[in-house]
Amino acid sequence: MRSFQRRLGDFKSRGVQVAAIGVDPTEISRGHAKKMGYTFPLLSDSDAAVIRRYDVLHRAAGPKGNDIARPAEFYIDASGTVRWVNLTDNIAVRARPEQALAAIDVSAGSNSSQ
């Protein structure tokens, strides 16, 4: 998420918003956003309902054996259609902003050619 914050300008210039979703309560997210300098929304899905709906739940993987989200990244276009998905098979390996930006550019290119 640090790297996405660093490249936030490149998302903004493409008219694309960035948002993170996790189970952390609002207060924790607020503190963390402040500490890390995150200026995009950190959405609090405390009962993991949305995480479940996206099937990105990692059961009992939290610090107290609670259910959390597994790392996953999506690009959803203006019509609400998924255009890019990144489901890592290694918790340490996350999508880089460059991958998302490339997917956005490919999606924009295919839209304008239609």
């Binding site: 952390d24 997210s29 996206y54 059961r59």
Partner: protein, 141 residues
């Protein structure tokens, strides 16, 4: 007779411990997180130094100390390396399949969730003008 300091045992042990403890630091950068080569390099340097130290201790015991404590250092370093490898090459790869996750071309399920300021944000709010990148993350603790 004068003993010589068997420094490779001490330095090797410290470097090996550093290989484990520095994970907290190296994990912040994608280049050292995607594959933990920096930590593995530290473990390798530690192993070489420990071996040099052990060769000295056992080969020239009249000159160098460390047969006992050097062996203990080596065993501890090996255990730390085993723990690190287990975490990196097994635990971190236990990720659910997410077979039912929305696929390319499908509609993303709508939602509305509070942001860090308590303001409700709906997927629809995020989509204009050119869509949104959603990052699901494990959380902070």
């Amino acid at each position: 007779m004068k003993w010589k300091w068997n420094w490779p045992l001490w330095v090797g042990f410290i470097v090996a411990v550093g290989g484990l403890l520095s994970y907290e630091y190296f994990v912040r950068f994608p280049i050292t997180r995607d594959f933990p080569w920096a930590n593995l390099l530290l473990f390798a340097i530690g192993a070489v130094l420990l071996l040099i130290g052990l060769f000295r201790a056992f080969g020239r015991p009249h000159l160098y100390r460390g047969k006992a404590f050097g062996s203990i250092f080596a065993v501890i370093a090996l255990l730390l390396f085993g723990f690190f490898s287990y975490e990196i090459f097994y635990v971190l790869r236990q990720v659910p399949l997410s077979a039912q996750a929305p696929r390319i071309g499908e509609k993303a399920p709508p939602f509305s969730l509070p942001d860090q300021d308590g303001k409700q944000v709906a997927l629809a709010d995020l989509l204009s003008p050119n869509g949104a990148v959603l990052i699901f993350y494990r959380g902070h603790w």
